[in-house]
């Protein structure tokens, strides 16, 4: 979407040559990087203090974020999930803060461009196929052939279509929600800039958080679907931990 107003990343020397969504994603990531660097330093300075600070500091913020990610992953994937902490945590933080950046004037969220969401969804797609092959070896292809071998010529195209629909639906959902939210906000700002956009902005916060959670929960479902063994889930989980770690 073309923006009429000021965009912050246009003022930064190397970012202004990039396309809009990339510049914004890099800018948001840079801000996050600085925040996390400062938070990490303040945690290190604190030592192994168990009692939290009296005020809400950067260290508290980081602990809250990491704890939330870990809890979400453990609730939905069990013990196996901890080996996917890095990819899941990066997805949560990147999508959440890019979505929320759409509510700050001067940022155009990168997730309201289809290129970004398709890149995220394709990363997820290739990674879960890769982990499927890594955990099961060549037997992973049995997931595609269906219950009987004589049904395989029929089941293989069906399964391929079903698997291709996953990244498409993931990316289209995130893109549609963020784009729609941003567009409605822009139109309301154009019509009545004073108080009217406030409920829409509140709705924007809600949509940002919910869409992040939906994306990540579906990603976790795909990952655990790829690494689970049919029928013997408990044993499969143990093996998966050993292989993925």
């Amino acid at each position: 979407m073309e923006h009429g107003g000021i965009l912050y990343f246009k003022f930064i020397p190397f970012l202004n040559k990039l396309p809009g969504q990339v510049g914004n994603a890099v800018l948001v990531s840079l801000v996050l990087l600085i925040l996390f660097f400062l938070g990490f330093r303040s945690i290190k300075k604190k030592g192994d203090d168990v009692i939290p600070d009296k005020k809400f500091t950067l260290a508290n913020f980081m602990e809250l974020l990491v704890e939330g990610c870990v809890k979400l992953i453990e609730d939905n994937m069990g013990k196996v999930g901890m080996s996917f902490l890095y990819i899941m945590g990066s997805l949560i933080i990147f999508i959440l803060f890019n979505n929320l950046s759409g509510l700050v004037p001067g940022f155009a969220p990168a997730t309201s461009n289809y290129n970004t969401t398709l890149a995220l969804a394709l990363t997820v797609f290739f990674l879960y196929q890769f982990y499927g092959f890594k955990v099961h070896g060549f037997k992973y292809l049995k997931h595609f052939t269906g219950p009987f071998l004589w049904l395989a010529p029929l089941m293989i195209p069906i399964e391929i279509i079903g698997h291709l629909a996953r990244p498409m639906s993931l990316s289209l959902r995130l893109f549609g929600n963020m784009m729609g939210d941003h567009l409605v906000l822009a139109i309301f700002f154009m019509l009545a800039p004073l108080v009217v956009p406030l409920p829409i902005m509140f709705l924007g916060i809600f949509v940002s958080v919910v869409q992040t959670l939906v994306f990540v929960l579906l990603t976790m479902a795909y990952f655990s679907g790829a690494i689970e063994h049919e029928g013997e889930e408990e044993e499969g989980a143990h093996e998966a931990v050993e292989v993925a770690a």
């Binding site: 609730d75 939905n76 195209p157 069906i158 399964e159 279509i161 079903g162 291709l164 629909a165 996953r166 498409m168 639906s169 289209l172 959902r173 919910v210 959670l213 939906v214 929960l217 579906l218 479902a221």
Partner: protein, 87 residues
């Protein structure tokens, strides 16, 4: 019956809200794949028709899988309830 909590609610949305988009996209991907294969292999309309049907089946298969999961969940809940009543 207990009302689902806020996090449970998001999990339900991500599980059952995705089915509509996925069923539509399965048919669309089937049609596009079939059309391109026809174009490269020069096999008339046959592959388009076949892959459209495969797309329909793939969409309904994901619906069927979801329904099976739901039934299993209900059974588990009933089982747990019985265990709670007679400890």
């Amino acid at each position: 019956m207990k009302r689902p909590k806020a996090k449970k609610w998001v999990a339900l949305v991500s599980k059952y809200g995705t089915i509509g988009l996925e069923m539509g996209l399965c048919v669309a991907i089937g049609v596009i794949m079939g059309a391109y294969l026809d174009k490269f292999l020069h096999t008339g309309p046959w592959l388009t028709i076949a892959f459209t049907l495969f797309g329909f089946i793939a969409g309904f298969k994901s619906l069927f899988k979801l329904a099976k999961d739901l039934i299993r969940e209900e059974e588990n809940r009933e089982h747990d309830g019985r265990k709670d009543r007679n400890p």
